[in-house]
C-alpha cells in the first residue's frame, strides 16, 4: 500500500452524480422519464459495483471522512437551492431526510445491536404528537420542542425495554409490532389527542423567523417555504449521520456489534448486554422523535392515519434495502421508497406489494443490501494504520 493519501475526487464525483440524479428524479414528471431514471439508477449502481467504481469511492471516502460529509452536505444544499420554487419536490426531499433520520435510528437499533424495531413510525408519531401538544399549550421555543419531542420518544420507548430484554429475535419483533399497533389505536380513541381527526400543528419558528413564509428573492422569483424545512431536515439527517458514524467508530459501536453477533460471548467478555441494548434502543427512538417533531411542524397537521404499521415496515425495508448497518445505504434506499411511489402513479397502489417483493429479492440474492456495510474503520486511512 502506498503511504500517500488517495485523492478525494471520487467522493466529489459521486456526490455530483448523486445530486444531479436526485434533482432529475424530483423534478421530472413524465412517467416514462421517471421509469428511465429508475432503470438508469439500478444500472449505474450495478456498474459501479461491477467495475469497481464503488470500491474506489469507498476507499476515497475512508481516507477523507470529513471531506465526504462536507461535500455531500453541500451537494444536498445545492439540490435544495436549485429546486427552490418547487413545493412538492422540496416536500418530498424534506420527507426523505426525515425518513433517513428515523432509519439511522433503526440502524443503531437493528443494524448494529440487532434489535428489530417494527414500531419505528410509532416513535416518529410520538415525536409528532408531543410537538402538537407542546406548541398548542405552551410557549416553549420550537427548537427546544424538537429536542423534548425526541426525548419523550426515547422515554416512552423505555416501557418496551423490559419485554425486549426478556425476549430475543422474533419474539422481540412481536413486542414492537404490538406496540406500534397499540399506539395507533390509542391515538384513535384519545379525545385529548384529537382522536381520528388528529391535531393541527403550527409552523416552525426559529428565533422569531417563521419557516412557513415563502421567501421572496425579487427578480429571482420566490423560495418555497418547504425549502426551509428541507434545510432543517437535512441538518437533522446530517447530525444523525455524524452521530451514527462516530458511534460506529468507537468502542461503543464495537459493544453493539458484539451483542448482535453473539450475546453470550459478549457477556462473557464483560459487555453489559442490557445496558447497551437500552442505550441503542433509546438513542434510536430519540432520533425518530426528532424527525417526527419536524415532520409535524412541516405538514401542519397530524392524524393517526399517518402512523400505520405499514409505514414501520417501509422504514425497516429502507434499512434492509440500503444495507443493514451501513448509514450511507439508507439515503438511496429512502429516496427510492419515499419518492418512487409518488412519482410513478402506477405503482402507488401496489407499493407495499412491490417493496415486499423487493425486500425478499434483496434478502435472497444480496442479503447485505444495495450498499453492504464495510469493516469498521476507527479513523481515516484505517487500512494503512
Amino acid at each position: 500500500m502506498p503511504i500517500t493519501n488517495r485523492s478525494y475526487w471520487p467522493v466529489v464525483a459521486s456526490a455530483v452524480f448523486a445530486a444531479v440524479f436526485v434533482l432529475l428524479f424530483l423534478y421530472l414528471e413524465e412517467q416514462w422519464e421517471i421509469a428511465v431514471l429508475a432503470v438508469g439508477l439500478v444500472a449505474a449502481l450495478y456498474s459501479a459495483v461491477r467495475f469497481g467504481f464503488l470500491g474506489r469511492i469507498e476507499a476515497a471516502a475512508s481516507d477523507h471522512p470529513r471531506t465526504t460529509i462536507v461535500v455531500n452536505f453541500v451537494a444536498a444544499l445545492a439540490v435544495i437551492v436549485l429546486l427552490r420554487g418547487e413545493h412538492f419536490a422540496l416536500l418530498m426531499l424534506a420527507t426523505v431526510f426525515l425518513y433517513v433520520t428515523v432509519c439511522l435510528g433503526l440502524t443503531i437499533q437493528f443494524g448494529y445491536t440487532g434489535i428489530v424495531n417494527f414500531a419505528g413510525i410509532a416513535f416518529f408519531g410520538i415525536g409528532a404528537y408531543t410537538t402538537a401538544v407542546l406548541t398548542a399549550h405552551t410557549g416553549v421555543p420550537h427548537l427546544l420542542v424538537i429536542i423534548i419531542a425526541g426525548l419523550v420518544a426515547g422515554l416512552i420507548g423505555s416501557v418496551l425495554i423490559l419485554p425486549l430484554l426478556r425476549t430475543r429475535g422474533h419474539y422481540a419483533a412481536l413486542v414492537t409490532i404490538a406496540f406500534g399497533i397499540l399506539f395507533r389505536t390509542f391515538l384513535e380513541v384519545s379525545d385529548v389527542l384529537g382522536g381520528p381527526q388528529g391535531l393541527k400543528v403550527p409552523g416552525m419558528q426559529i428565533l422569531g423567523w417563521s419557516l412557513n413564509d415563502n421567501i421572496s428573492l425579487g427578480p429571482l422569483g420566490s423560495v418555497s417555504f418547504y425549502a426551509s424545512y428541507a434545510v432543517v431536515a437535512l441538518l437533522l439527517a446530517a447530525g444523525a449521520y455524524i452521530l451514527v458514524k462516530r458511534l460506529e467508530r468507537s468502542w461503543i459501536g464495537l459493544n453493539l456489534d458484539a451483542i448482535r453477533t453473539d450475546e453470550t460471548a459478549a457477556a462473557s467478555f464483560g459487555i453489559d448486554v442490557p445496558r447497551w441494548k437500552i442505550f441503542a434502543f433509546t438513542v434510536g427512538n430519540c432520533l425518530a422523535g426528532f424527525a417526527g417533531a419536524v415532520y409535524a411542524m412541516m405538514s401542519g397537521f397530524i392524524a393517526p392515519a399517518s402512523f400505520n404499521f405499514g409505514d414501520s415496515l417501509l422504514l425497516v425495508s429502507i434499512v434492509l434495502l440500503g444495507g443493514s448497518g451501513n448509514p450511507l445505504g439508507v439515503l438511496p434506499a429512502a429516496l427510492l421508497v419515499v419518492v418512487l411511489p409518488e412519482k410513478l402513479q402506477i405503482i402507488q397502489e401496489y407499493r407495499f406489494l412491490l417493496f415486499a417483493v423487493l425486500v425478499i429479492l434483496i434478502l435472497r440474492f444480496r442479503p447485505e443490501g444495495l450498499l453492504p456495510r464495510k469493516m469498521r474503520e476507527y479513523f481515516a486511512a484505517w487500512s494503512r494504520s
Binding site: 453477533t261 453470550t264 467478555f269 464483560g270 469493516m375
Partner: protein, 263 residues
C-alpha cells in the same frame, strides 16, 4: 511443577453443583487451582467439563457450592463480573464475531481495559484514537507471539481466516486483557494434530511471558494433556473421579472404566 503447590490456591471451588431439572450435571465438585498452574480437565462426553466452565463463568447459576477467586467469593456472579474479576475463556464451538475484523474481536476481549464512557467515545475523538493506536500495537504484539502472518491480517475479517487462525484469535481474545485464569474449552476441536500441536506450542511460549497465568484445559487428545499439563482432574457423570499427574490418572482403574466402560 513443584512450585505450583503453594499454600493459597488462586481459585478454589467447594461443593459446586449444577442441576438442570432432575439432571445433576455437576455434583459437589471440589477443585483448586494455583497461580501459574496448567491443569487438564478430562472425562468422557457429557461428564460435566463444559458445564463446569459455564458455572464458573456465570453462564449457568450453580445450585449449591462456593467459588472463591483470590479469597473473594464469586459464586453466582454474572458473566460480566466474572470477566472483570480476571477469568476468561474460549468456547468449544468458536464464538467469534466472524463478520468483524481480527482487531475488533480482540478488542471485545479487552473490554475491561477500554474506556466505555459515552462522552469519550463520541466527543473526545483524539483521546479515543490514542487508545485505539495503543491497542493496535498491543494486538499486533500478542498475535505475533502466536503467528507472525496472522499479525499482518489484523484488520481482515475473521471469516477469511482458516480454522487454526480462528482458534488463535479466540485464545488471544481471552488473553489480551491479561487475566489471572484462562479456561480453554477443547481448543483442538476441528483441527489436525499438527495444528493442535502448533497452537499448544504457541500457548506454552506465551505462558512464559505471563508467569502468573493459571490455565485449565478441557481436552480429549491425551497426548496434548500429557505434554502440556502439570496436573489432571477427571470428571465422570458430574463428579470428580480422579486427580493427579497424567501418568497416575491414566493408570487409575476408575478412569479406565469411565473411558472404556466396565467389564
Amino acid at each position: 511443577m513443584s512450585e505450583a503447590i503453594r499454600n493459597e490456591p488462586i481459585l478454589s471451588v467447594e461443593g459446586l453443583s449444577v442441576r438442570f431439572g432432575g439432571l445433576v450435571a455437576l455434583n459437589a465438585l471440589e477443585f483448586e487451582l494455583h497461580e501459574g498452574e496448567f491443569v487438564g480437565l478430562i472425562g468422557p462426553n457429557g461428564s460435566g467439563k463444559t458445564t463446569f466452565f459455564n458455572a464458573l463463568t456465570g453462564i449457568y447459576a450453580p445450585a449449591s457450592g462456593r467459588v472463591t477467586l483470590s479469597g473473594e467469593d464469586i459464586t453466582g456472579l454474572r458473566p460480566q463480573q466474572i470477566y472483570d474479576s480476571g477469568i476468561t475463556r474460549t468456547f468449544q464451538r468458536l464464538r467469534l464475531a466472524s463478520s468483524l475484523s481480527v482487531f475488533d474481536n480482540l478488542m471485545i476481549g479487552n473490554h475491561r481495559n477500554l474506556d466505555q464512557g459515552i462522552v469519550t467515545n463520541l466527543f473526545a475523538r483524539r483521546r479515543l484514537e490514542k487508545q485505539i493506536m495503543e491497542n493496535i500495537e498491543n494486538s499486533r504484539m500478542l498475535l505475533e507471539q502466536f503467528s507472525a502472518p496472522l499479525a499482518s491480517r489484523l484488520l481482515d475479517p475473521v471469516s477469511q481466516l482458516p480454522m487454526i487462525d480462528r482458534r488463535r484469535v479466540e485464545v488471544c481474545r481471552a488473553l489480551i486483557s491479561q487475566p489471572k485464569i484462562l479456561l480453554l474449552d477443547e481448543p483442538s476441536a476441528g483441527m489436525t494434530h499438527e495444528e493442535t500441536r502448533a497452537l499448544m506450542d504457541d500457548l506454552l511460549a506465551s505462558r512464559e511471558r505471563m508467569p502468573g497465568l493459571a490455565i485449565v484445559l478441557i481436552e480429549h487428545e491425551m497426548g496434548v494433556i500429557e505434554r502440556v499439563t502439570d496436573r489432571c482432574v477427571v470428571l465422570n457423570y458430574g463428579q470428580k473421579i480422579a486427580e493427579g499427574g497424567y501418568r497416575d490418572v491414566a493408570n487409575d482403574d476408575r478412569v479406565r472404566a469411565a473411558y472404556l466402560g466396565e467389564d
